[in-house]
């Protein structure tokens, strides 16, 4: 990945468009992290306040499926990192996107048996769980599409940008896992 947030033009007067895009990318990354951080913080607080709701939620969650989804997502991160390092970017971006779509399919399978139980749950924990996991699911689906779009014409700057966003999604999932699933 190439990060150049400290890039400056040599004459000190002309702005560098690529540096501006990098800065915009990192503003986006931190905005996402702040939103997910707030949601995970609220989840931790509700878990602590309502242990009965937490126990009920944990009974509905499918931990082995979440484990498989994690393996798929980090593997797709590997392909995105390989693409960003310049090795067969098109093929690796397609492989990363495929991993994203498999992750989405696994989450849909999980939602299919979690939703009826969550609908019957009292309290806000179930709703917050759906908000966090659903929001992350939407990110995976959207950025998987972006990976495919970039794979059509894999310019190195675009590959590095989309790979950064993909790693952010990986990172957020790895933080969702201990807060929501591994208690």
């Amino acid at each position: 990945m190439t990060v150049a947030v400290t890039n400056r033009s040599l004459d000190g007067a002309k702005p560098v468009p690529e540096a501006g895009m990098e800065l915009l990318l990192w503003i986006l990354v931190w905005s996402e992290l702040i939103v997910f951080g707030a949601l995970l913080g609220a989840f931790l607080l509700l878990e602590w306040l309502d242990p009965a709701a937490l126990a009920a939620l944990r009974q509905t969650l499918d931990l082995p499926l979440a484990g498989i989804a994690t393996v798929v997502l980090v593997s797709s991160g590997f392909f995105a990192a390989t693409a960003a390092s310049g090795r067969q970017p098109r093929g690796n971006l397609v492989a990363a996107a495929l991993g994203g779509f498999i992750f989405c399919a696994l989450k849909i399978a999980a939602f299919a048996h979690e939703l009826p139980a969550l609908a019957a749950m009292e309290g806000r924990l179930g709703e917050l769980y759906m908000l966090i996991v659903g929001f992350h699911f939407a990110h995976v689906l959207f950025v998987s599409g972006l990976l495919l779009l970039v794979a059509l014409r894999p310019a190195s700057r675009h590959v590095a940008g989309v790979a950064t966003i993909w790693h952010l999604i990986d990172l957020v999932w790895l933080l969702i896992l201990p807060v929501v699933y591994l208690g």
Partner: protein, 89 residues
């Protein structure tokens, strides 16, 4: 200053897969007082592997890498503390 060489990507992936397997094992085997710190440490390790191994941020921007790892550390520590305290109550 001499920069450290980047971790090879297959090694990063192997580390992530091993840490994921250990996390799932910890859930089913360990008592919650030990499980909390174990899961926090494993989750932070995975976050560090993503930031340093896949994003290669340490070589490009040590400040951003440090900030991302600190962010992940706060969430992992809170999650670990909640799991450990649940075992005490």
């Amino acid at each position: 200053m001499h920069l450290p060489r980047a971790l090879p990507l297959p090694a990063v992936l192997a580390g992530l897969l091993i840490a994921t397997g250990l996390s799932l094992l910890a859930v089913s085997v360990l008592p919650s007082v030990i499980r909390g710190p174990a899961i926090a440490a494993l989750s932070l390790t995975k976050a560090m592997l993503i930031v340093l191994g896949f994003m290669r941020l340490r070589r490009e921007s040590p400040v951003l890498a440090g900030a991302l790892i600190a962010y992940a550390a706060v969430i992992c520590l809170l999650a670990g503390a909640r799991i450990a305290l649940a075992g005490l109550s």
